[in-house]
């Protein structure tokens, strides 16, 4: 066999829920790179392996699809990558069609489409253990002959069949062939019907129906998709998830905070006072720390999402929520991205890629930042502690808790309202279809869940480094320079650019009851919302404000009126106070116009609601 000069390129294609990503993970293990495709924000996952014969190969995990006839951004990438027309990508030498062995009907039609492309293909019958357990008989030789492609059985989660798959792929890659001849074109309805009949014929010839078909999925569904019980269970799942996010994450968050605090202290002790120390301690360490502190919450929310996704529940959640969200002009599939946005809008906005219709996706992106992300919590906690009495109302409810709940509810309600308005104003009438497969339930595989969680953590940390760190340094510079004049009495930030911006903008914010100190806090708060707490601490000269919320709260309670405090809360529900999110929206929409529309409407809502809250509170005697 001749030794190849370059690695063989392999592309994995398959239906959603076929275990394609599990197979990719089994093939490549930790040797994978996650990035974006050139020009589009679809996640590109590639891995490198070396076969037993010593041939090196790169493996590309393409987004799942039912057809090469693409509808979403993800599916366009799959189509173009397979056809070899994707900018910046080399055409694959071998296409591996990944199939759920227990659900072959649709994937056979996809395989027929892939054959038309003319590249060598291997069919991987994944989850073959489940097929065997069900007593499903598949005539592998006949299937291989019908498709004109080798067929390999695999169990990705147990790493079974992987060596055989690699060998089959290698044999295909080694085949001499002339320039491939692509016969594929987007099939018409008539052609899809013909392909279905052909797939049906192959099914009948090669597959005997299961002796023990899966009845468990039906039984679970009759509970989880029950109109009433299903919704109650969904709410319970969400409740547990939020409890977990807030209760379980706290110890880890405290640890990270303490760690970064100690690191800052250590550096402060070693590096002499001055600009360098300030840059490292106030800019870099506290900047990175203020973002990383959310890692535990983000991991917990992702753990839930990955578990529910792997179990097969997410499609059911979309089913249960479709009508409710549809009333507000949102697609059922928007449920998952909006859920993630409670941790942080950035992963939420990135998760909108699963929404096929561009308009539905855009609406979801526009409202995702209204979900109360975890960065708002420190601000809410501070202001509530300062202004809302800790007392019991109606005999059972804690007033502070009620206000917190109210802030969450206003975020959700305003998101529904805004999406309704977007639908009425920008695209009247157009309703995108809601259609999705409800996959068979499966017990999540512990190893693959942990692996995916680790991948998420890595992506988040890298983003923290790449986007958030430079922003933090800019904000640090704005709050540090120029230095206060000799003999200045106020805190240094008063004399900095941030202080000047605060004083310049004060007249704009005076009608909503904000003092210039508050406006100063809003400037660094643009880097990340929770930074405002630290800055308020600096402005009001309360040392260690983050650790000592109580002290800062009592200072604020003395300095601000109740109306001002409530207006500040109202502002924080809506204001797009997070440059990283705005950056992600710009990238994901690829449109400056829509980014500006989002920033504009959020600032308008923030100002308007703060104004209304302030005026009402003043009129009621809270001024």
């Amino acid at each position: 066999m001749d030794v190849a000069v370059r690695p063989a390129r392999i592309a994995l294609v398959g239906n959603p829920n076929s275990g394609k990503t599990a197979l990719f993970n089994a093939l490549t293990g930790a040797h994978q790179k996650v990035a974006n495709y050139a020009g589009v924000t679809v996640e590109r996952k590639e891995g490198r392996i070396v076969s037993e014969a010593g041939r090196s190969m790169t493996i590309l995990d393409l987004p799942g699809t039912y057809s090469l006839r693409a509808r979403s951004l993800d599916e366009e990438v799959t189509r173009d990558a397979v056809l070899g027309t994707l900018a910046g990508e080399v055409p694959p030498d071998v296409v591996v069609c990944v199939a759920d062995a227990t659900n072959l009907r649709l994937v056979l039609r996809l395989a027929l489409e892939l054959k038309q492309v003319g590249r060598p293909m291997v069919l991987a019958l994944n989850m073959f253990d489940i097929a065997q357990r069900q007593g499903l008989r598949i005539d592998l030789e006949r299937l291989s002959a019908e498709l004109g492609a080798p067929v390999v059985t695999t169990v990705a989660t147990r790493k079974r069949g992987i060596t055989e798959l690699v060998a089959a792929v290698e044999a295909q890659a080694g085949l001499f062939r002339a320039e491939t001849h692509n016969e594929w074109h987007a099939p018409s309805a008539a052609e899809i019907r013909v392909a279905h009949r052909e797939a049906e014929r192959i099914m009948k010839a090669c597959v005997r129906p299961p002796e023990r078909p899966d009845t468990l999925t039906g039984k679970i569904d009759s509970l989880l998709l029950n109109p009433v019980a299903g919704l109650v269970i969904l709410l319970a799942v969400l409740f547990v998830m939020f409890q977990a996010v807030f209760a379980w994450a706290t110890p880890a968050m405290d640890l990270i905070e303490a760690g970064f605090g100690a690191l800052g202290g250590l550096v402060a002790a070693v590096v002499p006072d001055g600009l360098l120390q300030s840059l490292i301690v106030d800019g870099l360490i506290s900047g990175v720390g203020s973002v990383l502190v959310f890692l535990p919450q983000i991991l917990i929310i992702f753990l839930f999402i990955i578990l529910l996704e792997d179990f097969g529940y997410m499609a059911r959640a979309a089913f249960l929520m479709d009508k409710i969200m549809g009333g507000a002009g949102l697609h059922g599939r928007a449920f998952i991205p909006l859920l993630s946005s409670f941790a942080c809008a950035i992963p939420g906005i990135m998760a909108t890629r699963v929404i096929e219709a561009k308009r539905d996706r855009l609406t979801t992106i526009l409202v995702a930042p209204l979900m109360t992300c975890s960065a708002r919590i420190p601000v809410y906690t501070l202001i509530i502690a300062a202004f809302i009495p800790n007392e019991t109302v109606w005999g059972f409810a804690n007033l502070q808790g009620l206000v917190m709940f109210g802030l969450y509810a206003s975020g959700i309600l305003s998101a529904l309202l805004v999406s309704l308005v977007v639908r009425k104003v920008f695209w009247r009438g157009a309703v995108e279809p809601f259609m999705m497969e409800l996959p068979a339930y499966k017990i999540p595989d512990v190893k693959s869940v942990l692996f995916n969680l680790w991948l998420r953590a890595k992506i988040f940390m890298r983003r923290a480094g790449k986007i958030i760190l430079p922003l933090m340094i800019i904000v640090w510079a704005l709050s540090t320079f120029p230095y206060p004049p000799e003999g200045a009495t106020g805190p240094a930030i008063d004399y900095s650019v941030a202080g000047m911006i605060g004083k310049t903008l004060e007249p704009i914010f005076a009608p909503i009851g904000f003092s210039w100190q508050m406006v100063v806090a809003l400037v660094p708060g643009m880097a990340a919302r929770e930074v405002a707490v630290a800055v308020l601490g600096t402005v009001y000269a309360v040392a260690g404000a983050e650790e000592n919320v109580g002290a800062l709260a009592s200072v604020l309670a003395a300095d601000w009126s109740l109306a001002t405090g409530l207006a500040f809360l109202a502002w924080y529900v809506f204001a797009p106070q997070c440059l990283p999110t705005i950056g992600v929206v710009r990238r994901e929409t690829g449109s400056l116009k829509w980014t500006l529309i989002m920033v504009g409407y959020m600032f308008a809502l923030a100002y308007l609601s703060a104004f209304v809250v302030y005026r009402i509170a003043v009129a009621l005697g809270g001024g």
């Binding site: 659900n103 009907r105 999925t217 497969e437």
Partner: protein, 88 residues
């Protein structure tokens, strides 16, 4: 004599065979697209269907068993599918 209805009119437990996908007189691009998407998800003439579940509000969306897989869709889209109900 079998009864023919739109899938959008079906109730829980109704079973039958798809007799027609789309209405075959396409005036608009999105109808052509809808027909192709339904076909790609397995809603093809001759496929066995059964309505498994309905949503709480307006009995929408619906979960359909199509041959051996399950698919969720709205009644609005299900109106493009004609089925012949099994004789009771």
């Amino acid at each position: 004599m079998t009864q023919t209805i739109k899938l959008s009119q079906a109730r829980i437990g109704d079973r039958g065979v798809i007799t027609q996908v789309g209405d075959h007189c396409h005036h608009q691009e999105h109808e052509v697209e809808l027909e192709r998407r339904l076909l790609e998800l397995g809603f093809v003439e001759g496929a066995r269907v059964e309505l498994l579940h309905e949503g709480l509000f307006g009995r929408d969306p619906i979960a359909i068993k199509v041959d051996d897989m399950r698919v969720a869709l709205r009644r609005h889209e299900a109106a493009s599918l004609t089925i012949a109900l099994d004789a009771a």
